[in-house]
Amino acid sequence: MNFESSTNSVAVSVKQVLISVLELQLEVSELDEGLSLRSDAIGMDSLTLLHIIAKLEQELSFEIDDEAMMSAKLVDVGSLVELVRSHVVGRPAGNEASSAKYEAIE
């Protein structure tokens, strides 16, 4: 699978999980990446976010480290797709863990 199709498949997977977990009455193609995660239409809280990430980790066989998750600035569906994509398609090499790698958490 080439880079572009990997990226697209990640986006589809993220949207499918969002729709399933949040019980959205939407098709994947209808879920706009610009939709805010804090909107009434999405209605997500921080625990649900962790639940979605944990589910995606299992489905896409990747793992986000705690610091990356804690410092992630997630605003809309697109930012969630990007977070997952960066860990699936562009997997970090090795286990180098440096707090300098991430912005200080807020």
Binding site: L37, R38, G43, M44, D45, S46, L47, T48, L49, L50, H51, I53, A54, I64, D65, D66, E67, M69, M70, S71, L74, S99, Y102, A104, I105, E106
Partner: protein
Amino acid sequence: MIKQLNTGIEVPNLQPGQVPSHWYNVVADLEGYVSEERRPARQHSEEDLRPQLPLSIYRQSVSSKPFIAIPAEVRAQYERWRPTPLVRALRLEQMLQTPARIYYKYEGASPSGSHKLNTAVAQAYYYKEAGVRELVTATGAGQWGTALAMACAMYDLRCTAFMVRCSYDQKPQRRTLIEMHGGRVIPSPSRITEAGASILADDPDCPGSLSIASSEAHEYATRTAGARYSAGSGDNHVLLHQTVIGQEALAQIRSLGDYPDVVVAALGAGSNFAGIAMPFYRESRLTGQKTELVAVEPRACPKLTRGIYTWDYHDALGNTPMSKMYTLGHSFIPSPIHAGGLRYHGAAPVLSWMYHEGLISAVAYGQKAVFEAAADFIRAEQVIPAPESAHAIRYVIDRAKKARETGTRETILFNLSGHGLMDLGAYQTWMSGQLDDDCAADADVERALAELSRKTAE
């Protein structure tokens, strides 16, 4: 083996290398229980999507694996004081003239004085790994606040504890202890949060409750850069971390050729009860050897024996997600009994489910009867129990007396979850005959449950 000085009985002395290597996850053995089932919190601010839990801890809380490895660094910390002693209470048996054999697992031996350090250390480790700089929490009598302050000091984290006001006033030395370990203590309700200010606006003399302190701690953690909320009980991962207690007790009592017919512990939200009881639940499933699991709660806050099993918030103002639990209603404020650690409106969701399924049982006592039992225990065993732990002792003594009447040679194991050396003021009050015997008023319970119905209907 070592010989107990006060009884001459040989007791198992596990070595530090025998600290469990894994936590036991009871969720894996509960057919039909859904750990992720939850109703999302209402959103109030842009910061609401910031995870309050490290992802590692979240994975633990929803895992289907029966055993989860304890990180080497956390286990190394545990080895500073674990395994904790399993003690045969022979002098108590002799005092009661009972054929029952009574054992207690003494968690008061930890550096913080209670079982709370088992999860505090684990949580501080994971939060530090996640880049968090400060942990914020709610504490009742102060055992959890003490443990978290100590754990934060181990990992160079700041610690802020909202302490229930009536306990803050009753136990000034507990505040000192938290501050000596580098923590900051704020009496709750306070005016530094909107949650606290709203409570004080309605009731300036509010004695506070753990659910109010939780509301304040959540709000403070949400708005403070680098800070996250840490829970001392109730959540699945907290119960998980505490199972080192029961795993050790299982090995210790087995090495004596004995096995409990009943395991008893006090229940606030459920961490010390789950800690000692859940490994025995697993053993019952594996071996068929039945052990009763009995939770003991205060009559002033009887969520299992008088609450209802429904969806409720974890905090007083309804700003947290809802879980299904036995609850008296999140707005219920218990009377200011001395067992401040048991003054929480709801039982842990997993324990609530187990109680609903008949897998555990519960009893409730007033605090006078509890202190009377504590006094008997002190005379016999010369150990001062925390008022919370003394609830278990009340049941144990009653059970041992019944065993004497029926000639039942049974084995009773209870968790002595903490020492009471910071609670001597409470014992002084009892000795002077000024201890109130409180029972949750029907009207207060009905009002809080009606408030819950109204809020969930909105």
